[in-house]
């Protein structure tokens, strides 16, 4: 938003400290002008995720001079200046008496449109060569639409540059010239030929002038409008175009596509919503654009697990671990996918590595213990599951695992104690309850025999 408030005086103050760091962050500037005393505080950050210039801005209203400035430097010294000009950048240096006053750099006075236009690249216009009407631009390609007149010297000067830009971006950009002169079209056409404007040429009408300039009359010339390939207006030059300015803008269109971060956000959302296939597809699109994210492969693996595709999940987790072999979540999931593929013995190493990073994490201990049990390494499984129960005595999974290992080792009474603890925690409906019931049934049938 361009501030068009009525002009008032101001002072811009820049400090250079020598007894502290040069920006003088934290310095206090007290400015007096027209009987008003203002204070400012030097900083370079403000608000949220935002950096501000270290220069301080003071509005002076109607005051044409600054009566005085006092600076409290971070070094603790105070220094003052008197009678300084308004509307200048005032550079004040610690331990130097004089102030440097200079004009602020400004954009050249620009021409503004009197009302907001609604330009569109697909508006139809009459061709200069008399071959009928056609849209100025067609969606699918960026468009540069240049308004000119054979009587406008600045227009004639920039046309060769426009033609060069067109050749440089021929594959992706369409260029159109629109003559605001609506009579003597032969003169216009001849001028275009003479200047090498070898791109589509049109003749303006009232509708076009209203759409592009918000009026049917006054036109700042030359004027150039740039649209991206989806037809969105991206830049208005209400002045002559610098060739490099235009080229940089068109160049930047080439870099546009999807934000990988947005794809990752979307993938994460789909994973959360358990739409696993869409999640995988989205993540894979992100991976093609910016390959090599360990986190992304971890999530792809989780989505594959959600689909019950254990082999694919294993591949994704393995890729994640190859990219970051210190992520305990990826390591543990890789191990889990191996267990599900019937490769429990191979899972043990990954669980152990995850455990070394996580410390005595009960869940990882339970999974490791179960893998050891499945791998037939009963005594080791027993030790690990005992650690799991110690790490989290409220973990039903740990007690259940311990019970199962005791059963494996044929230590039934200890198994019953462990399983009963699990039932205490999660109730009889869980795996421990089922096992206890089976044990009881089996004992009854044993007695029966």
């Amino acid at each position: 938003m361009l501030n068009t408030s009525p002009p008032a005086h101001f002072a811009r103050v820049r400090l250079h400290a020598v007894e502290s760091e040069p920006l003088a962050l934290g310095a206090i500037v007290i400015l007096n002008a027209g009987g008003v005393t203002q204070r400012e505080y030097v900083r370079i950050t403000d608000g949220f995720m935002a950096q501000t210039p270290a220069d301080l801005h003071f509005g002076l209203g109607a005051s044409e001079r600054v009566d005085s400035i006092v600076v409290q430097w971070p070094s603790g010294t105070r220094q003052s200046w008197k009678d300084l000009p308004a509307d200048r950048l005032l550079v004040l240096r610690e331990n130097l008496a004089g102030a440097e006053a200079s004009e602020l750099k400004r954009w050249p006075e620009g021409r503004m449109l009197e009302s907001l236009p609604r330009p569109s690249m697909d508006i139809s216009a009459r061709r200069l060569d008399g071959s009928g009407a056609a849209p100025l631009g067609i969606a699918g390609k960026a468009a540069v639409i240049n308004f000119w007149s054979p009587t406008c010297a600045a227009c004639l000067e920039e046309i060769p540059a426009l033609a060069r830009v067109r050749r440089r971006f021929e594959q992706e950009v369409q260029l159109a010239g629109v003559s605001v002169d609506r009579t003597e079209l032969e003169v216009v056409a001849e001028k275009a030929r003479h200047l090498g404007a070898d791109y589509a040429q049109f003749v303006a009408d009232d509708r076009i002038m209203t759409a592009f300039f918000g009026n049917e009359g006054t036109t700042p010339l030359p004027a150039t409008f740039v649209f991206d390939k989806s037809g969105r207006l991206r830049r208005m030059f209400l002045r002559p175009v610098e060739e490099e300015d235009l080229a940089m803008l068109l160049e930047s269109f080439r870099e546009e596509g999807v934000f990988v971060a947005d794809l990752d956000t979307r993938g994460s959302l789909e994973l959360q919503e358990q739409d696993f296939e869409v999640a995988i597809r989205t993540y894979m699109q992100a991976e093609r654009l910016a390959p090599g994210s360990a986190l992304r492969w971890l999530k792809i693996g989780l989505a594959q697990l959600g689909l019950g595709k254990h082999a694919e999940a294993y591949s994704a987790f393995l890729r994640s671990v190859q990219l970051d072999d210190q992520d305990p979540q990826a390591l543990a999931n890789l191990a889990t996918s191996l267990v599900r593929l019937g490769r429990a013995a191979e899972a043990v190493d990954y669980y152990q590595k995850a455990l070394r990073i996580r410390g005595e994490d009960a869940n990882t201990l339970v999974n490791l213990g179960n893998a050891l049990g499945i791998a037939g390494r009963g005594p080791e499984a027993l030790s690990v599951l005992q650690r799991a129960c110690k790490a989290d005595p409220r973990s039903a999974a740990a007690w259940t695992g311990l019970g199962k290992v005791y059963l494996l080792l044929d230590r039934t009474s200890e198994a019953i104690v462990a399983l009963e603890k699990a039932v205490e925690i999660e109730g009889a409906a869980g795996e421990a309850g089922t096992l206890l019931k089976k044990l009881a049934d089996s004992r009854r049938s044993g007695r029966g025999r």
């Binding site: 938003m1 361009l2 007894e19 005393t37 949220f48 995720m49 956000t265």
Partner: protein, 593 residues
């Protein structure tokens, strides 16, 4: 001239729509309301007296509120927007009485191109419904259309009989006028609403305060297209973003920084974006902005930077918020230095320790200060979250499972040591903003840390760059969803004021006072959150800090993100700007988020 508080209040640009369900959801999650104890009785009240007895069951009260709001909005809001006066009239009871000032009423002041009618004196409530609607119609005289109507209730005290309620609300109508100008009418109203058959209608309304601002022409012109200030706007990406918003996933943007990164005397812009690469716009010096590669653009891009000359060689460095290189319990922030060939990464300069289980870190807050006065800028990083965050404490009023703060002490030649722990800065909250300033006037800079989901912290510098938390200080008591901070002597009194952005909630303001069962302490905490932005002022250099945002009418700025004091009209005092807002669902009837 309107009073200074009013003028300050007018400068707060409140845009966007508060979504009661969303905010209520957040609020409810944060305070974990137990079931309230019903206390209502049948005692009567008469307008305009504020009722002493009302329904305390917030679920019942909100249910009725929603019916009332739907009925009134579908008539008054819709009628005013469509300039359908008979429809607007239907929102009022037959025996309606209410006061609203005529456009030319109140004190009139000119302020930089704007005519401001200050309606501080309440108008007498002597208009019947036709006259009341006629006044609202008069306010819209000459408008080309109605751009905005707002009817948002922040107090709703339901009578135990369920048939009427006492209300307070923010009212606004605004629109462009034929002469390229704009009129904005804002008011705080109180009133009585009644159920009339199956429909809720307004029976009484009184103006508490309000104003009408008339701009002959907009003081600001949108030059976005003219200067080319556009981000990546590919069709594909816009569709993707919209789909994410439609699914109500979190969709943050970020902040905008102004800095002359190439030293040509023109301010360039850095657009930071949470979870996305930041975009650097170079000012071309003759009316345009060009996107140019930001530091780290050749890699994955970095969401946010702090740019400063950290080695004193006259060129800038860029400290990035991204954390990479997790290895053996360490990780690092990115650091780039400007060279004639572009930005060059300085690997390993900003390494710090992390627990082995931490594999991802998110930071949004970077602040520079020479904390130990060795003439070198040190860097404070307010950490937000890690892969281990977001557990039970997340989105509460006391979340401490965010992320460690970092303090990188500058040792010269782009060497830094991370010393947050030894120097006392041991925050682990969800930090979004921080400000160094000399709180105690002892000549060194203290640190004010603002956190999401928890209290702010005040760290006092002992002069050597060692910090101690100052507990119980008025600046560090309130838990809120703090997001931004700015400081100024805005009214030239010689005293600094701190302004902190937060999330105003109409729903929260309605509901929290009813939740008597949660206890006064928790209710007060929730009210601080619901009341939005805070302003802390200290009259006199040694006076006590006071929270003054409500009194100065600067608390209500909806879901506020950033804030900034700036004298935009060069009149010698600082105006206050608050950026706020939401993202909108593709379906306009669906809630914003």
């Amino acid at each position: 001239m309107p009073s200074k508080p009013l003028r300050l209040g007018l400068a707060v640009l409140a845009i966007g729509v508060v979504l009661a369900p969303v905010v209520w959801h957040l609020l409810a999650r944060s305070v974990r309301f137990p079931q309230p104890l019903p206390r209502e009785t049948g005692e009567s009240w008469t307008w305009p007296a504020r009722p002493k007895v009302f329904v305390q069951d917030y679920a019942r009260s909100e249910n009725v509120h929603d019916s009332y709001a739907r009925d009134v909005k579908s008539r008054l809001d819709k009628g005013l927007r469509a300039q359908d006066w008979s429809l607007a009239r239907e929102a009022l009871t037959e025996d309606f009485r209410g006061g609203f000032p005529a456009p030319e009423a109140g004190t009139r002041a000119l302020n930089r191109g704007a005519v401001i009618h200050d309606y501080s004196e309440p108008a007498p409530a002597d208009l019947d419904r036709d006259a009341f609607v006629a006044v609202l119609r008069d306010h819209q005289e000459g408008w080309t259309h109605v751009e905005r109507t707002t009817w948002r209730t922040f107090e709703f005290l339901l009578d135990p009989d369920g048939q009427r309620a006492w209300i307070r609300l923010h009212f606004q109508i605004a629109g462009p006028v034929t002469s390229d100008g704009r009129v904005d009418v804002q008011a705080v109203l109180s009133g009585e609403v009644r159920r009339s058959g199956e429909t809720w209608k307004v029976r009484r309304l009184a103006l508490e305060r309000g104003c009408r601002i008339e701009f002959e022409a907009s003081p600001h012109v949108d030059v976005t297209d003219a200067v080319g200030f556009h981000f990546n706007e590919s069709e594909e990406n816009r569709k993707l973003s919209q789909a994410t918003i439609n699914a109500r996933a979190q969709k943050f943007t970020g902040g905008l920084s102004a800095i002359d990164f190439n030293g040509d005397g023109f301010w360039d812009l850095l657009a930071s974006s949470i979870n996305r690469p930041s975009v650097l716009f170079q000012n071309d010096g003759h009316g345009g902005l060009h996107r140019v590669p930001a530091p780290g653009a050749e890699d994955r891009g970095v969401a946010h930077f702090l740019l400063a000359d950290l080695d004193g060689n006259g060129t800038l460095e860029a400290v990035g918020t991204d954390v990479t290189g997790f290895e053996n319990g360490e990780a690092e922030l990115s650091l780039y230095t400007a060279t004639p060939d572009g930005w060059r990464r300085v690997p390993g300069a900003l390494r710090f320790q992390v627990p082995l289980t931490v594999r991802r870190v998110e930071n949004y807050c970077l602040v520079a200060c020479d904390v130990d006065r060795d003439r070198r800028l040190d860097i404070f990083v307010g950490g937000y979250s890690t892969n281990l965050s977001g557990q039970q404490e997340f989105n509460t009023i006391a979340a401490y499972d965010g992320c460690d703060n970092l303090l990188f002490m500058n040792r010269g030649e782009l060497r830094f040591t991370e010393e947050s722990g030894p120097r006392g800065l041991r925050g682990t909250q969800y930090t979004l903003a921080a400000k160094f300033f000399d709180l105690d006037g002892d000549g060194d800079e203290d640190l004010y840390e603002l956190n999401d989901f928890g209290p702010a912290i005040l760290w006092v510098n002992d002069g050597t760059g060692n910090f101690q938390e100052l507990r119980g200080h008025p600046l560090a008591v309130d838990a809120a969803y703090h997001m931004g901070i700015t400081i100024a002597d805005w009214d030239n009194t010689g005293d600094w004021s701190l302004y902190v952005s937060n999330m105003y909630s109409h729903a929260g303001n309605r509901i929290v006072p009813l939740a008597s069962a949660i206890g006064e302490e928790l209710r007060n905490t929730a009210l601080v959150i619901a009341r939005g932005n805070q302003m802390f002022e200290r009259p006199g250099a040694t006076g006590a800090w006071q929270e003054t945002a409500s009194a100065r009418e600067t608390s209500w700025a909806d879901w506020a993100w950033s804030c900034n004091f700036y004298d935009i009209d060069n009149d010698g005092d600082r105006d206050l700007f608050v950026t706020n807002g939401y993202t909108s669902h593709e379906d306009a009837s669906a809630p914003d988020w």
